[in-house]
Every structure is written in structure tokens, then in C-alpha cells.
């Protein structure tokens, strides 16, 4: 076994050990070590990757006649390192929140699955690990909620079949499953044109379905809110932070493997590659729809679940823009989304651990009780809302530049709307959970335990570091392309017609804060007053009254959107499922009516048909 294999299977093995031992204390240590091994190895490979460039390291193993190819190049290293970063944070989080070894096993199994998906160099490994990942995450959901897990299962199966058929088609056309070979074959085919336009569109559609399910793109997102909220929240860190990125990676794979062929087959529309344009619009719609839904949620987990869907929409949007700048923006957003959303989920995990509540109406005034968690939440909020200088802003800025440069104004408009929505829902989270009046049953809440705080710190630091020095990421990502797309130094991003100097923004912000701080310090000393001593139109109040708007915070928005909210994808699917069930029922009742005579007739008819067809 070599290092790549160690890296790949370390989490899985650690998971098995943790599961088998099932001793409190040891299983946590084993799990954290298992999660940290891949990160360590990946960091060790960093110099090799940067020097070797896109070629990377390729390793092959033989499993039952199949050659599984694993490659570690600029792109896969990037994805893998994000996954392992989130994985480490998850492991720390689970050390605090997880109560049994079952979760350790499947969480670490899905970790391996995700790494495998990113590192696979052919479709056999890709599909295999894809299914490991799906299975493990499904098992995680199943433990908490059967209904949601079923939803996730059905959609995943649809995705998996779509992918299997698409791979089959590709294999039929090209005769190979290796990524490099497929890529060359399709590249050649773009000139020859032996694969017809229809077939290509079919393959594209199937892949979009498969990856769209995993990424949670509208209208295939319906599993995400339920599944994200119905697992251990520390695991959701990984689920939303890394697992959904597999979908994004899949979309990127489409570009790499069949981009040229797709362009030649599907053509261009108003100077946009049609297939990319479709992805961009899927992304844009996901951003807006999921954003609106996130704003209107009343459950802390549902809010972030929809928010995750919305943020993955940004990634698809960036990929859909199709220019190198767009892809860099999307990849940057993969990183920043992983770190800020992972952080959010850890915060949520800590909150649920300490309070046992999930509805906004049960929270309030926790900032004083959990100050460290609160400051972590604040970092995540600033990053998600896209406040410069945070990682979330740098990636969003790249996406704006890309969309507008690529002349996709309406798509860029969706980013604007989406970021406004993001602003709205994170502030709602801040208000309902951390500020306002504290319910009396939260009086004895304690600060989150140390492991989960370490996990938060692991994710919070990149938020700030990559925010102030976004050049670290873009410089690395430039390596994907033949010539640098985003120039500038570590702190300054320069595109063809825009600039963003994160360090300067930081310095000026600090300067502004200093000026404001001087004025503040000169003023009178402050006296702290309780919430009952505030403006209540002059009326005396006591803590018996509820003074915080906890439920229906954004009810006016719901009223303004009344017309649109009548339609729901979730209900649509449920109705569809209901219809299918009814249809099957009628079929069953009509055909399997228990009458032996009619069964004989069926047999006769079938035989007749077969005879006519010429089989018999």
C-alpha cells in the first residue's frame, strides 16, 4: 500500500476500528486521527503538486479484474484538501456531539467515499466511491428520520441510475472508462461527430441529473433540507461542506471530459456555450429559490440546509459561466462555502448539543452564555453575507466579475439578489439565537465543549486567512489553466477589468474602526441595562412578556411572495409519488385480482405476443 491508498482508506479503517471498539474516549481519538491522516498526507504532497502541475500523481490498483486509477493533480488535490479539512472539523465536532459508534462508522465511511470520488481517475472507481458515499450518508439519515432518508434514497437512486446509464452510453461510444482516454476520444469526436447531437444531449442530461441531485440543484434539491437537518449536525458539516461538493466536482468533470464535444454538439446561444448556459441558469435559479426559502424557515437546521442549497447554486452558476474566471470563482467558492458553512453547522451542532432545541422560537439571548461559539458564528455570518474582507466575499466577487464579464447580466442579477437574501437569513439567525430576550429555560446553558470549539477554529481560520489573502487560492487555481487568469499578489486580485485588494480593505476597515473607536472612547462611559429597561412606549414591562420576534420574522416577505409560495417542488414530488402509488394500486388491483382464470389469460396473451414477435 502506498500513501495515496493510506490516505484514501484511513478514515474507513478508523471508522471500523471505532465501531468495533466502541469505547468512549478511544473511538473519538481514533476517529479524529483517521480524519486527520488524509489532511496530513495531502499537505505533504503540496510541493509535489505545485511543481508537477496538472499531471499529478497517478496510481493504479487492481480490484477483481478492474484497474482502479487514482490521480492526484492540481484539481483533485484542491477538492480533496477541502474535503479533508472539513472532515477534520467534522471529526472534532463529532467527538463532542456524537453518542455512538454507528455514526462514527458511516461518517468516516462517507469521508472515504468523498475522497475516492475526488481522486478517482476512471468511471469505475468514481461510481464505486460515489455509491459508498451515498450509502454511508443515507445510513446516517436513516438513523434519525425514515421519511427524509427515503426521500434522499429515492432521489439518489434516480441520480445513480442516471449516472450509470450515462456511463454505459459513454462506454458504448468510446469503449473506455478511463477519464483521460474518454477525454481524448471525445475531443477527437468533436471533429468527427460520430456521436450525434441527441445522444450527447441525453448523456449531458443524465449527468446533470446525477450530479444535480448530489449538489442539490433546484428542482432536485428536495432531499437536501430534510437530510441535512436529520443527521448529527457535526456530520452535516461534512455532508453540506464536502459531500455536496462531489456534485460540483461532477459538473466540473463534465467540462474536463466532454466540454469540447458538448460545445460542438449542442452549439452556442448568443455567444454562450449552451450546455454551460443551462448550468448557469440552474445555478441562478437555485440561488434565488433556495435563498427565498431559507429566509422563510422557522427551524435553525432547515435555514442552513436551504442556505447550503443556495450557496451550492453559486458554485454551479460560476461553473456555468464557463470562462476560466468563472471556474476559478466557482472553485474558490467551493472552498469558502466549505469553510463558512461547515463552521455554521458546527455552531448549530453546538447549539443543539447545549440546548436541545432547533426552532428559532425557543432560542434567544445566548451571546452572553456562549461567547466563543458566538464569535465563531459571527465570523461565519460575515463570511457568508460576503462582507469584505472575508473568504466569502473574495469568492463572490470573482463570481460577479465572471458573470458580468461573460455578459450574463441576469445571472449576475441573481447573485445580487442571492447575496441580499443571504444577508437577510444570517441576520435572522443572529437575532433569533444570540440576541433578544433569553427564555428562562436557557438560563443554565454552558459554553460548547472544547473539541467542537477546536473544530470551529479549524474552519474559522481559513475564513479569515483566505479572506485577507485570497491570492493564496487564486494563485494555486491559476495552475489549472495554461496562463494565469487572476493576477495580482497574495492580497490583491486583478482580473481583466476589475481589482480587489483585500489587505487594503482590511487596513482601511481597521483605520475606520480606529477613527470610530476614538470617538466612541471619548464619549461617556456606558452603563449596561437589562432588556426590560428599554423603550416600550413608556410602559413598564417585566421578563414575563415576550419581547423578541421569534417566529415569522420575515412574514412580510412571505406575504409579498404569497403567489409564488403556493407552488412547492416538495409537494409536487409528493403528489407525483402519490399519483404513481395510486396508479400502481389500480394496476395491482386490476391485474392481480386473485382470479386464477385471468392469470391464465395473461399467460396466453403474453405467449401470443411473443409468438407474434417471432421469439417462439
Amino acid at each position: 500500500m502506498n500513501e495515496l491508498m493510506i490516505m484514501l482508506f484511513a478514515p474507513l479503517i478508523a471508522g471500523f476500528i471505532a465501531w468495533a471498539l466502541d469505547i468512549r474516549g478511544i473511538r473519538e481519538i481514533v476517529g479524529v486521527i483517521g480524519a486527520a491522516v488524509p489532511l496530513g498526507i495531502l499537505v505533504k504532497y503540496y510541493p509535489t503538486i505545485t511543481s508537477k502541475g496538472t499531471e499529478g500523481i497517478v496510481q493504479t490498483i487492481n480490484v477483481g479484474g478492474f484497474h482502479l486509477v487514482f490521480q492526484l493533480n492540481t484539481l483533485t488535490w484542491y477538492f480533496a484538501v477541502i474535503a479533508s479539512l472539513v472532515g477534520v472539523a467534522m471529526a472534532f465536532g463529532m467527538a463532542s456531539t456524537s453518542k455512538n459508534s454507528y455514526e462514527w462508522l458511516f461518517a468516516l465511511m462517507s469521508y472515504t467515499g468523498v475522497l475516492g470520488v475526488f481522486l478517482s481517475g476512471d468511471f469505475v472507481g468514481f461510481f464505486l466511491f460515489w455509491e459508498i458515499m451515498t450509502f454511508a450518508s443515507f445510513m446516517m439519515v436513516l438513523r434519525r428520520n425514515k421519511h427524509e432518508s427515503l426521500k434522499y434514497f429515492v432521489l439518489s437512486i434516480i441520480g445513480a441510475y442516471a449516472m450509470l446509464i450515462a456511463i454505459g452510453l459513454l462506454y458504448a461510444k468510446t469503449g473506455t472508462l478511463d477519464f483521460n482516454t474518454i477525454r481524448q476520444a471525445l475531443y477527437m469526436d468533436a471533429m468527427i461527430g460520430s456521436i450525434s447531437r441527441g445522444e450527447m444531449a441525453l448523456i449531458f442530461g443524465l449527468f446533470v441529473t446525477a450530479f444535480g441531485v448530489k449538489a442539490g440543484a433546484v428542482p432536485l434539491h428536495v432531499w437536501a433540507p430534510g437530510a441535512y437537518s436529520e443527521v448529527d449536525q457535526s456530520y452535516t458539516t461534512f455532508f453540506s461542506g464536502a459531500l455536496s461538493k462531489a456534485g460540483a466536482y461532477g459538473f466540473l468533470l463534465l467540462y474536463i471530459l466532454m466540454g469540447v464535444k458538448l460545445v460542438s454538439a449542442l452549439g452556442v446561444w448568443h455567444n454562450h456555450m449552451l450546455f454551460a448556459y443551462i448550468i448557469a441558469w440552474i445555478g441562478a435559479i437555485t440561488v434565488v429559490v433556495a435563498g427565498f426559502l431559507a429566509v422563510l424557515q422557522e427551524d435553525i437546521r432547515k435555514l442552513f440546509a436551504y442556505s447550503s442549497v443556495s450557496q451550492v447554486g453559486y458554485i454551479l452558476l460560476g461553473l456555468g459561466v464557463g470562462t476560466p474566471l468563472g471556474i476559478i470563482g466557482a472553485l474558490f467558492h467551493v472552498l469558502s462555502h466549505a469553510v463558512f458553512k461547515g463552521l455554521f453547522w458546527l455552531v448549530v451542532a453546538a447549539l443543539i448539543l447545549r440546548t436541545g432545541k432547533t426552532k428559532f422560537e425557543d432560542f434567544g439571548g445566548l451571546a452572553e452564555k456562549m461567547p466563543v461559539t458566538f464569535s465563531m458564528a459571527l465570523i461565519a455570518v460575515l463570511s457568508l453575507a460576503g462582507i469584505p474582507p472575508m473568504a466569502g466575499f473574495a469568492s463572490k466577487w470573482l463570481l460577479y466579475e465572471a458573470a458580468i464579464n461573460a455578459h450574463m447580466p441576469l445571472v449576475a442579477g441573481a447573485i445580487f439578489l442571492g447575496s441580499g437574501l443571504a444577508f437577510a437569513y444570517v441576520v435572522r439567525f443572529l437575532y433569533a439565537v444570540w440576541f433578544g430576550q433569553r427564555p428562562s429555560d436557557l438560563e443554565d446553558v454552558k459554553e460548547a465543549p472544547l473539541p467542537i470549539l477546536i473544530g470551529m477554529a479549524v474552519l474559522a481560520i481559513p475564513n479569515i486567512v483566505f479572506g485577507i489573502a485570497p491570492g493564496l487560492v487564486t494563485k494555486y487555481l491559476n495552475g489549472l489553466f495554461s496562463e494565469p487568469v487572476v493576477t495580482g499578489d497574495y492580497f490583491k486580485l486583478v482580473t481583466t477589468n476589475g481589482t480587489y485588494n483585500a489587505l487594503l480593505v482590511t487596513i482601511l476597515l481597521v483605520f475606520g474602526l480606529a477613527v470610530a473607536g476614538i470617538v466612541f472612547i471619548y464619549g461617556a462611559k456606558t452603563r449596561k441595562v437589562p432588556v426590560t429597561d428599554t423603550y416600550q412606549s413608556g410602559n413598564p414591562v417585566t421578563e414575563d412578556y415576550n419581547l423578541s420576534m421569534r417566529r415569522h420574522f420575515y412574514r412580510p416577505l412571505a406575504e409579498a411572495l404569497e403567489f409564488w409560495l403556493r407552488y412547492s417542488w416538495d409537494r409536487f414530488y409528493e403528489r407525483l409519488a402519490g399519483l404513481a402509488e395510486d396508479f400502481a394500486d389500480t394496476l395491482r388491483e386490476g391485474i392481480y385480482n386473485g382470479n386464477v382464470q385471468s392469470y391464465a389469460w395473461y399467460l396466453a396473451i403474453i405467449l401470443l405476443i411473443l409468438a407474434l414477435w417471432g421469439v417462439l
Partner: protein
Amino acid sequence: MGGDFISYELKEFKLFEPLFRWARKKSIWLVAFCTGCGGIEMPPLVTARYDIERFGMMPNPAPRMADLFLITGYVTPKTLKRIIITYELMPDPKYILAHGSCPINGGVYWDSYNVVKQLDKYIPIDVAIAGCMPRPEAVMDGIREIMRKIENGEADGWRRYRENYEWYRKNQDELFGEGWRERDAKRWLAWL
């Protein structure tokens, strides 16, 4: 309120105090609270004919930003509770301008069972204007008086309130009964 309020140390501005005094005089914000019938003369005061915004005065709905509390007319105990609460919300330095005869000695309501006769016992008044109801000119005269007092540092009702807080508190409690804030607040719990 209470001990915390009295023991709290006020900031003394050494260097810029004259500047701040001038600013306090030139920018007096009113609490938007019409406690009595004199409230009807507030709109003329802020509109075209009298326009006190010339002197930098304007009504402000938030008591935290306000400087001047205009007691516009008679005060019933029920209103006085709200006046006290609002007054205590205002940051120091703050001033009270009593408007009309009623806050001084009850005015026409001298024998009414529901009008406070001597407001000065419950909150400190800086300037009182006589008349029922005082014409806007009289109010403006009162305002000029309070401006003069502010500039000279004589408008020290807020300081008196702080120093004699026990006394004021005692009078208030005598009128309303001990623990009136809680009692009053809890009244609505049963209905909601």
C-alpha cells in the same frame, strides 16, 4: 433603575464642556409624548407659523435621543408612571419643561381625584410656563428660558433627580404604592 442608576458615574468633559453646552442649547430634541391637552399646541409649534426647528428643536419619538421632556398639561397618575419611565430612559443631561398651570398646582383640575397636583414632587421640573393653555409664544418664551439656563449650567433638574433620587422615589412610591412597575406591567399578562 435603582442603585445602579445612582452609583453610575457621569462623564465630565473638561476640555470641550463649553462647546457641548452650546451644542446642548442649540439642539434640543423633544420627547414625542403629549401628556395632556397642551399637546394640541405642539403641531403649530413645529409648523410654519412658529417653527421651532429654527432653534434646532425637533420632536423625536425615541426617548434615548431626547433632551427635553415637554409636560404638555395636566398629568394623571396613570400618565405620570409613563412619564417617570420615559424620563428615566433619557440620558443625562435632560430637562423638563412643564407646560400650563396644571403641573404647577392642578389648574382647573385642582379638585380632581385623578390629576397630580404638584408635579415637582415626582420629577424635577426645570422651567414651568403658566397659563391654560399657554400660547405658542409663551411656550417659546419658556424654551428661551431653558436655553439660557442650559447655557449657564443652571438647568440641573437631572442632577437633582440623581442626587435626591431616594426622595423622588419615596414620593412616587407613596403615590403609586411600592412595586408599582411590576404590578402595572403584570396587569396585562392575564389578557394576552
